[in-house]
């Protein structure tokens, strides 16, 4: 039975369960709602959930496990001579799946009968041509073991699907029956529904956490692979970055790291004062009308995609800097529009709303009593801000700045377009430099061999970046938390 139909069937069964469960509970209470432990809809929902949860759980498990089992069975049919390592086995297996799909399509279109598809032989038929005729193009002639494996794959899949339908419907019906039998007027349907909701919420929370874990793990494995191919010491302390896919590349992170750091520092030098001053103006000086207009406007900046900022850097800021610092007519410090300064300035603009809106919230959280106390002593507004409000908000503001810093470090698009691609260890902010993130992009795009150090270095770079931003974020959170305790 196709998956969609199975799914719809379970849903329908659940709905039926809802109606029947509700009716049964009401009947048990002789139609008097007051005699029920819970509201009638809870009894209905209880049956509905008792159908859906086992049904969908079995479905999901089956969908995950069946391909794994079949894969294991079928791949044992491939002779050892056909592959050298796991990668090429995967290639053969994808051929097998493709042939199996092709046979399915051929049967569906009637060019092969069911029996033919099962018994067909490479020795007797040109499979490639037959499948090509129904629109399935194969890269090479089909080996006999591939075809056999594909045929096995097909039969196992068919049996598996049939068993899955039975198992799923069985589970759903069992849930239906058990919950219906348990439905009576004293049953605590409300509590059990509540438990399911709790489970749902826990599930959502754990998905977020597990995903993070998964990301970290996938990075870690590839990073370990990389360090098997390339010495860690050279990676962390090498001062040259010159990857060449022919081999003999030098993959020192320092020039990239310096680029990231330099661009981020310039960005923060722009964003922190401007953002902070904007926040102070908005929270302490601006009237409600100005605030109502200015704050959303400032936050619009945060909604601009970073690629647009990148274009702004490339087309506007770069040429503008060139006219002042460039070689013709300017100071001669700048060779081209792409430079650390270009990217840093634009990234700074991008971070302004980030810093200002976080700082604004934090400044607003400083109790009015602090301001009153200071004003009551004859301090002016700016003295109050400088000496009372800002020191009180300082930990929170530091947290905001650190969060902005981790965004700056992870930023890619602006740097790709604004800072250039040359990995250099240089102090001149008008030189083109490159950052960790842009190198990750360039190492993984293109036709690189995924098992080479040149491609795997991207994961090591990503891991380094991840660790750095994670540390910054944790540091920021600790500071923000410490600040919170002050006014509780």
């Amino acid at each position: 039975m196709p998956l969609l139909w199975l799914f719809i069937l379970i849903l329908a069964l659940g709905l039926l369960g809802f109606i029947l469960g509700r009716t049964r509970a009401l009947k048990d209470a002789h139609g008097d709602i007051r005699l029920l432990h819970s509201l009638p809809n809870y009894y209905g929902s209880n049956v509905l959930l008792a159908v859906l949860i086992p049904g969908l759980a079995v479905l999901l498990l089956w969908l995950i496990l069946q391909p794994m089992l079949i894969q294991g069975q079928v791949s044992s049919m491939i002779p050892n001579t056909a592959y050298t390592d796991k990668g090429s086995l995967n290639l053969v297996m994808s051929d097998v799946r493709r042939v199996a799909e092709g046979l399915d399509i051929a049967v569906e279109q009637g060019s092969l009968t069911r029996e033919q598809a099962r018994d067909i032989r490479t020795e007797l038929t040109d499979i490639r041509a037959r499948l090509g005729a129904v629109g399935v193009a194969l890269g090479s002639n089909v080996e006999s073991y591939v075809l056999k494996a594909a045929q096995k794959y097909r039969t196992m899949n068919a049996v598996g699907n049939w068993m899955m339908t039975v198992a799923v419907l069985g589970a759903a019906l069992a849930g239906f029956a058990v919950s219906m039998l348990r439905t009576n007027k004293d049953m605590r349907a409300r509590n059990s529904v509540e438990k399911v909701i709790l489970g749902l919420l826990i599930g959502a929370a754990s998905i977020a956490i597990l995903t993070t874990l998964g990301i970290v793990l996938s990075l870690i494995f590839n990073t370990i692979e990389f360090f098997k191919l390339y010495p860690a010491l050279d990676f962390f302390f090498g001062t040259t970055w010159s990857p060449s896919f022919g081999g003999g590349s030098e993959l020192g992170i320092l020039p990239l790291f310096w680029g990231t750091l330099y661009v981020s520092i310039i960005a923060l030098l722009v964003a922190v004062p401007i953002g902070l001053f904007a926040a102070i103006y908005l929270s302490e000086y601006a009237g409600p009308k100005v605030r109502a207009i200015a704050k959303p406007l400032l936050e619009v900046l945060a909604g601009i995609p970073t690629i647009v900022y990148g274009l702004f850097a490339l087309l506007t800021v770069g040429p503008m800097l060139m006219t002042v610092f460039g070689s013709d007519g300017g100071l001669g410090w700048m060779q081209g529009g792409r430079s650390v300064m270009t990217a840093g300035l634009v990234m700074g603009v991008m971070l302004i709303p980030f810093v200002s809106s976080l700082s604004d919230d934090i400044i607003n959280a400083v109790p009015q009593a602090m301001r009153d106390g200071s004003l009551g002593l004859g301090a002016t507004k700016s003295e109050t801000v400088r000496q009372v409000v800002l020191p009180a908000a300082l930990p929170g503001i530091v947290g905001a700045i650190l969060l902005a810093a981790s965004r700056a470090i992870g930023e890619t698009m602006i740097v790709v377009l604004g800072a250039g691609a040359a990995a250099k260890l240089n102090l001149n902010p008008f030189e083109a430099m490159t950052t960790v993130t842009t190198r990750i992009v360039s190492q993984l795009t293109g036709d690189a061999d995924f098992a080479s150090a040149e491609a795997l270095v991207a994961f090591a770079l990503g891991m380094t970046l991840f660790v750095i931003t994670l540390c910054l974020n944790i540091f920021a959170l600790v500071i923000v938390r410490k600040y919170r305790e002050q006014y509780d």
Binding site: S374, G376, G378, V388
Partner: protein, 265 residues
Amino acid sequence: MNDMRIVRKDVDMNDTKISAKKVQVFYGDTHAIKDVDVEIKDKTVTAFIGPSGCGKSTFLRCLNRMNDTIDICRVEGNILLDGEDIYDKRVDPVQLRAKVGMVFQRPNPFPKSIYDNIAYGPRIHGLAKNKADLDEIVEKALRRGAIWDEVKDRLDAPGTGLSGGQQQRLCIARAVATEPEVLLMDEPCSALDPIATLQVEELIDELRENFSVVIVTHSMQQAARVSQKTAFFHLGNLVEYGDTEQIFTNPQDERTESYITGRIG
């Protein structure tokens, strides 16, 4: 010696420090204070009493223009400090607040050290010539705030780490450190326990030697204990103003009598 002090006090008590005439306060459309006339004497404790929402705190905040910080608040009428209109355009509210200090309902020490809390006012007004001078001012203020003995060994500790009563005395000391001429107190004891309240009340009595003190309070016993003059506010009006003893023993207005005997409020 004693005689001289009493004589001086009698003379001082005749000086009017603040004189308010026909003061009206509006919060948006709400008429919060109606036609209030009051004369606050120098070196006297004046208590404002009345039920919640009667406008006594609002009126207190007019005396050092703290209401300026509230956008929708509008003040009309004349308030003279030493004969000068404090709502005159030439008067700088910041300078005024240095002369008319304020202590708030809830202790609000800055998240700084005890020393820096006290030194805050003197520093912004440039009252100290050097560090030694500032140390002296801080010690004097803390002594006047009756908290010196408790904190002298930990002046570097944060002011927010003190107990509620200590914090409030710290705030009083902080207000005193700028050498104001008038000290406004907005229910200074409402967040304190009875023992801390007693300490603050004793402190207020001592402060009278140097300042004119205006205190808003919900406790009639407190008004009777600490003040020489009492004003009773009701629904934005100043109902009765006179010597504390007279207000509590022989009120002229029946609303005052109802309030102090507990029938309204």
